[in-house]
């Protein structure tokens, strides 16, 4: 399969990349790992006139904490996240999600920021990062703006990014030690999208839930936050009753459809079970800290 022809740009600075985007507007696409974009171009679902390859830009491959925030650069690969001791130490929902994305070879190239910008409703990072309360830094001609992930996902394959903007960093608040999380994914085989998946992140204060983040993959037109479930948990002890109620509310928040991966009813049930398991896992991990 051949993509349509395009002009290829390999800028060495973000400014240079932005100038190409300004010239081509929505007829340009930004390439990081390319593991979603190139298949789309081969199928001609995307036929950009210009392709802006970020891979020659230095300084976008950082993965570090600074001032209470985890910063993940636009060129940080899934594989780097999968191996990061920093993520394993406290960012449970992210550390769980990374090795479950696609397959090991795709993870060598694919990026977290690219996954968000692609905004596939089946994307694992979307839900993991929504649960973690993440935000993105977008750079455009007018400077940098911060977009909470909640506002970033607009619909299937649609984000709040302007055509002249680039996601340069993904930022995740430091969960601290009084928190735990999990990402549970049901897939038919390695490399498949989720039948359903649930990301959970819970922080605790005085034995009670301070903030709960619960987000769902593969069961709606975008990564969904289960807000009612999150709100039901806040301020309460994470006991069996609270977990069962949150799981029920999360299943209710899902908007699944029947497809080859399973019936809507089945997927909803997976969400319920995975939410309960994820919350228990989050509590266990918090205990271990």
């Amino acid at each position: 399969m051949y993509p349509a022809g395009f002009e290829y740009f390999a800028p060495t600075s973000v400014e240079e990349a932005l100038s190409v985007l300004e010239r081509y507007g929505d007829e340009a696409k930004v390439l990081a790992g390319g593991q979603s974009l190139i298949p789309l171009m081969k199928l001609r679902f995307a036929s950009p006139r210009a392709l802006v390859d970020l891979n020659r830009i230095e300084g976008l491959d950082g993965l570090y904490e600074d001032d209470g925030m985890l910063n993940v650069g636009a060129l940080v690969r899934h594989k780097t996240c999968e191996r990061s001791e920093l993520l394993k130490s406290r960012y449970d929902v992210l550390a769980d999600a990374a090795p479950q994305i696609s397959d090991p070879i795709v993870r060598n190239l694919g990026t977290m920021a690219g996954s968000l910008a692609h905004a596939d409703p089946q994307g694992d990072w979307g839900s993991a990062l929504l649960a973690a309360g993440a935000q993105v830094q977008a750079r455009g001609p007018g400077g940098t703006r911060t977009i909470p992930l909640d506002e970033f996902f607009v619909g299937p394959f649609t984000t709040a990014l302007e055509p002249t903007e680039i996601v340069t960093w993904v930022q995740v608040p430091d969960p601290g030690l009084r928190a735990g999380g999990a990402y549970l994914k049901l897939e038919r085989r390695v490399g498949d999208f989720a039948t359903a998946a649930v990301g959970v992140h819970v922080s605790f204060t005085n034995g009670k839930v301070e903030r709960a983040g619960i987000a769902l993959t593969g069961v709606g037109p975008r990564n969904l936050r289960a807000r009612a479930a999150e709100e039901a948990l806040a301020g309460h002890e994470l006991d069996d009753d609270a977990i069962a109620e949150a799981a029920r509310l999360a299943a209710e928040a899902a908007e699944p459809q029947d497809d080859v991966r399973g019936s809507a009813e089945y997927k909803r049930n997976v969400v319920r079970v995975f939410t309960a398991r994820g919350l228990r896992k989050a509590a266990e991990r918090r205990e271990e800290r």
Binding site: Y2, P3, A10, P39, V190
Partner: protein, 168 residues
Amino acid sequence: MTEIATEQAVYTRAVSVTVNGEARSAEIETRLLLVHFLRDTLGLTGTHIGCDTSSCGACTVLLDGIPAKSCTLFAVQADGRELTTVEGLMQDGQHHPIQDGFHEEHGLQCGFCTPGMMLTATALLAENPDPSEEEIRWAISGNICRCTGYKNIVKAVQHAAAAMKEGR
């Protein structure tokens, strides 16, 4: 008549890569996928095209030592970088230990997935000379084999690991 200067769109580009230790250059279409560049432009047909949708891993090559699916990478992205294909495994007329492993342990039947499998395995062993069975299975989980059921592929990688440890 006034002449209006328009910028002509350019759909080709000069690319220089090192393939199996050899410098290669060509003027190519920007949309040319790496797998077609290797097979059609350079004549290195050992890299196979399987699913053409980044699912099967048959087209796996090493990009600066890291396994990548060459059906999901534009050749222009590889400009200035080092590629290893299955043709590059053999050194000085000697099989690479991974090639011996696949031969000795009957790690293939039809052989279509084998080039990708061997390159993925080579990258694994470079990083982890003594992988467990689980680590091997995890590493090759992006490479699909429809013949062997993977059992002998795992044995082939273990064979190679043992041989490499002995310095063969």
